[in-house]
């Protein structure tokens, strides 16, 4: 089983596919669950505090907007933890919205920069044919990582 970082990190479809093929999906839900379950933090709605943008300084400089740094404190550790990653380029809003375009640029760059990290870098499908190829590519990539449900 591999830990697979998914982009868009909010994509439930992608998260589900990763789980189906026997891996653990590293997405926004993982970090947000952690924050919600941590007692004594009370900043709604994400249980984030001004401390998070400071933690994000590890991934983005102080000149970078605080919203980017706050988001990076969610995604940065996931990317570091990942054994593999899937990047869906130009995804539709409904496939998983990532909010901040600048954070997205940085997240994708960081993923591509991780040495030795297998990355599936594909385009979002806009036709049935492309959709089939899209799922097949993801399946092949995930199968190649090894895991319980591999045939």
């Amino acid at each position: 089983m591999a830990k697979v970082f998914i982009y868009p990190a909010t994509s439930l479809v992608l998260s589900d596919m990763v789980e189906r093929w026997g891996h653990e999906a590293l997405g926004a839900a993982t970090s947000i669950r952690e924050r919600i379950q941590t007692p004594s933090l009370d900043s709604p709605p994400l249980q984030m505090t001004p401390e998070d943008p400071k933690k994000g300084l590890k991934y983005a400089a102080v000149e970078v907007p605080c919203g980017v740094r706050g988001r990076m404190s969610i995604y940065g550790p996931l990317i570091e933890e990942a054994d593999a990653a899937i990047i869906i380029n130009d995804a539709d809003l409904s496939f998983g919205c990532m909010g901040c375009a600048r954070t997205n640029e940085l997240v994708m760059y960081m993923v591509r920069q991780q040495e030795g990290l297998p990355v599936l870098d594909i385009k979002y499908p806009y036709s049935e044919e492309e959709g089939t190829a899209f799922v097949t590519q993801i399946k092949e990539f995930l199968t190649g990582l090894g895991g319980e449900n591999n045939e």
Binding site: L46, M48, V68, C97, G99, C100, R102
Partner: protein, 413 residues
């Protein structure tokens, strides 16, 4: 509070991820406002985003655009709009500004925009939020055009404290002194104003307070109206300038922060408050006067004799501005030119940082103590390419606005 909360629609990108969402909620709660996110569907986002025509890449900004259109089209009801995005984000700054303009042009909703950092506190947001709710809740009060009875207005600013006594639409007493200990300064100006008016405290029928110390003073003397300076100053400005009907822009460069307010019939529509740095404030001008060895009251006339463009000044920061000032003097520039350059520097920062966020509508009225510095008014007029109106008693703007609005409470007593 028994009043219904004012419903403020939030259009934003980033505050929940920056940890400042709680500060926004706290500021709203303090003024009995309720923040909400207008509901839109995915189809609304696609449609609105295409219709609006601004190709923002960020999902949250696309959502903000759809929410703004839902408000303008009346699909979602709100009393006011708060637009907030991350400081330093260029894309968000473009969207923030265009949404503010769009809402202002297509609805009568009061709107304020703000760029935050993770260190933004509810205290910083409070005055803006208070102004938003006041405009939404007290339109009737703000429509008051004449002062009635005998009322007093006290403006406890960061640099100076002012008091004005008005009777039957005329100023009959004034008091002015530097703000030191807030209550003592207030007592001093009240005493001076009463003396000038030949009245006693018992003659005053209603009192209004504004400025940084408004709550402390207002609670202490039992004021009828305790109100932030954005709405009070707008009202005071159009009243003194005799421009209560139609459009106007009010610029108030204060000791600590600046306000630029776009006004329609005496009611603020959009406004910005605070620059990035004290370099664009009365404080910088005070420091300039001290450095060139003149009283602040002499700075304006001296600046009028100088040529501002001969001395390059850094207008983005009080530290770099001071450095430019010291260098300019060391290079042998005349104090007239340096004074003019300092005025130009303050005007430039207000113009570049704040006036871009409100729509400039003539007449432009300058108020507050700094409006008496004619060099500053001249430079601002030059930048805006318009004649600036400085009404009589412009330095007492907050007190006059408070005294005027407070008279609405006499009838309630």
């Amino acid at each position: 509070m028994s009043e219904q909360p004012v419903r403020v629609a939030q259009l934003s990108c980033g505050p929940e991820h920056s940890g400042v969402q709680k500060e926004i909620y706290d500021a709203a709660e303090a003024v009995n406002a309720e923040m909400f996110f207008p509901d839109v569907t995915l189809a609304d986002i696609r449609r609105s985003y295409d219709a609006f025509g601004l190709e923002a890449r960020s999902g949250d900004l696309k959502l903000a655009i759809a929410r703004a259109m839902a408000l303008v089209e009346g699909n979602v009801e709100a009393d006011a709009v708060f637009i907030a995005t991350c400081f330093r984000c260029a894309e968000a700054a473009i969207v923030r500004n265009e949404l503010r303009r769009y809402i202002h042009e297509h609805s009568d909703l009061p709107v304020v925009s703000y760029s935050f950092t993770e260190r933004t506190t509810s205290g910083t947001l409070l005055t803006r939020m208070e102004a938003l709710t006041t405009i939404a809740r007290r339109r009737a009060l703000l429509a008051r055009e004449k002062q009635k009875g005998t009322t007093m207005g006290i403006d406890s600013g960061s640099a100076t404290t002012k008091a004005v006594i008005m009777r039957n639409n005329e100023i009959i007493g004034t008091g002015w002194m530097p703000t030191t200990e807030v209550i003592n300064s207030a007592n001093g100006v009240i005493e001076a104003a009463l003396k000038e008016a030949g009245l006693e405290m018992g003659d005053i029928e209603a009192i209004g307070t504004t400025g940084y110390g408004r709550h402390l003073i207002g609670d202490k003397i039992g004021a009828d109206l305790i109100q932030e300076e954005l709405t009070v100053n707008s009202k005071g400005a159009v009243y003194l300038a005799d421009r209560q009907h139609g459009e106007a822009t009010v610029i108030d460069i204060g000791g600590m922060d600046n306000k630029a307010i776009s006004v329609q019939d005496g009611i603020p529509g959009t406004f910005t408050m605070g620059g990035i740095c004290a370099g664009a404030s009365g404080r910088f001008l005070e420091m300039t006067a001290k450095r060139i060895g003149v009283d602040i009251t002499e700075l304006g006339p001296i600046a009028m004799k100088g040529i501002s463009k001969t001395v390059p000044m850094n207008s983005y920061c009080i530290v770099f501005g001071t450095q430019s000032l010291v260098n300019a003097l060391a290079e042998g520039n005349s104090k007239e030119d340096v004074a003019a350059a300092a005025c130009r520097s303050v005007a430039e920062q207000v113009f570049e940082q704040q006036l871009q966020e409100v729509d400039i509508k003539e007449p432009v009225i300058m108020v507050g103590g700094t409006s008496l510095i004619e060099g500053l008014v001249h430079e601002m007029g030059d930048l805006l390419q318009t004649d600036i109106l400085v009404p009589h008693h412009s330095q007492y703007i907050g007190s006059v606005g408070s005294a005027l609005l407070a008279s609405g409470f006499i009838e309630e007593k």
